[in-house]
């Protein structure tokens, strides 16, 4: 329970211990912040006339909250299948640069390829950010087990969050519900504060933070990918000569 939150040199005796370390690392702030955001999703599923099972299947199989919210909202207004696929697919574009940067860290000669295809289902913002930071400090064979342990707990927590949000709507005062939803951006903010210690990451984070809101006003649909491409390329040019 007392793993240090920030230090990149977590070493485990073996892969099993790395998996358990990942499980333990998810308890506390990560599980609470991520689970809380799915309470709102559960409530939304109920309001849209879908069943609890639909909500649980969505969380289990899509596991990317913005896309799930888009799916439920479009379903509720009777949108067609193509429109839903395009909207959900567009919101999931952000996962591509995450997979492209996390997978090379977790690859290990001799591991069957389907392991990576299966594990990639669990790649989302939190597991990506934590493993990108802690992974390089682990021996290569321990990185995938650590990631799996960490994200497995988050995955289970989001299922629980979906169910609780569906079954117990309106139990809490609005102020508390809104505060729970706000835990996620707060947690994300702290998550990336750790990365301000590096040399390149702070520049990329600053470029994205500055470009994000104005680009969102310009084009809500494309703002994220534009922010990534423009802000990231700018940061890359600015820090090209800096040793990582």
């Amino acid at each position: 329970m007392s793993l240090p939150p920030s230090y990149p040199d977590l070493a485990f005796p073996d892969e099993r211990a790395a998996f358990h370390g990942g499980l333990r690392y998810a308890f506390g702030a990560p599980a609470i912040a991520i689970g809380a955001s799915f309470l709102g999703f559960g409530a939304l599923v109920r309001e849209s006339g879908l069943s609890l099972w639909h909500g649980l299947i969505s969380t289990a199989t899509t596991w990317a909250l913005p896309g799930q919210v888009a799916m439920v909202e479009l379903y509720a207004v009777g949108a067609g299948l193509v429109a839903i696929a395009l909207a959900v697919g567009a919101s999931a574009t952000r996962l591509l640069p995450m997979v492209l940067t996390l997978l090379p860290l977790m690859r290990q000669p001799g591991r069957p390829r389907w392991h990576y295809y299966a594990a990639s289902h669990l790649i989302a913002l939190t597991g990506w950010a934590v493993t990108m930071r802690l992974g390089p400090g682990l021996p290569p064979p321990q990185r995938l087990p650590f990631f799996l342990g960490f994200t497995l707990i988050l995955w289970l927590t989001t299922l629980a969050g979906t169910a609780i949000g569906y079954l117990l709507p309106d139990v809490l005062p609005t102020a508390v519900t809104l505060a729970l939803v706000f835990l996620t951006p707060l947690y994300f903010t702290l998550l990336f504060m750790e990365d301000l210690r590096g040399k390149r990451k702070p520049v990329a984070l600053a470029c994205g933070a500055l470009l994000g809101p104005p680009l969102f006003l310009l084009s809500p649909d494309w703002s994220l990918i534009l922010t990534g491409l423009l802000g990231g390329s700018l940061a890359y040019v600015l820090t090209r000569k800096v040793p990582s």
Binding site: A29, P104, R107, A175, A179, T189, C207
Partner: protein
């Protein structure tokens, strides 16, 4: 035909399936393409910069101009909550405490204000 389908029990499941596939497509494509990426290459460095800029833009937007129920909350309350959260974290290095202080700040602000 499509109206008949939409009233069916099958329709929500179809929507769920398509949403899951549209999301996993990016993850699967990432795995497929990542095999050729060397973590020590310039391409990897650029991709990492893109990913970090993207998430920073996302998080800033979630605080400064959120979509959904948080839209109704005042910006100053969200900024105060985030500022306190960062302050508590900087002083104590305890994430859970920090986010609960931040969330508590927002809840109290909304309840009183």
């Amino acid at each position: 035909m499509s109206e008949a389908v939409q009233q069916d029990w099958l329709w929500p499941l179809l929507v769920l399936l398509v949403s899951a596939l549209a999301t996993y497509a990016w993850r699967g494509l990432g795995v497929l393409l990542s095999g050729r990426i060397n973590p020590n290459s310039a391409l990897f460095t650029w991709l990492a910069a893109v990913a970090y800029a993207l998430v920073a833009g996302l998080i800033t937007r979630m605080i400064v101009m959120p979509i959904g129920p948080l839209e109704e909350t005042p910006l100053i309350a969200r900024l105060a909550a985030a500022g306190l959260c960062i302050g508590v974290y900087a002083l104590t290095q305890r994430m859970l405490l920090a986010i609960l202080v931040g969330g508590g700040t927002l809840a109290i602000w909304l309840a009183v204000g």
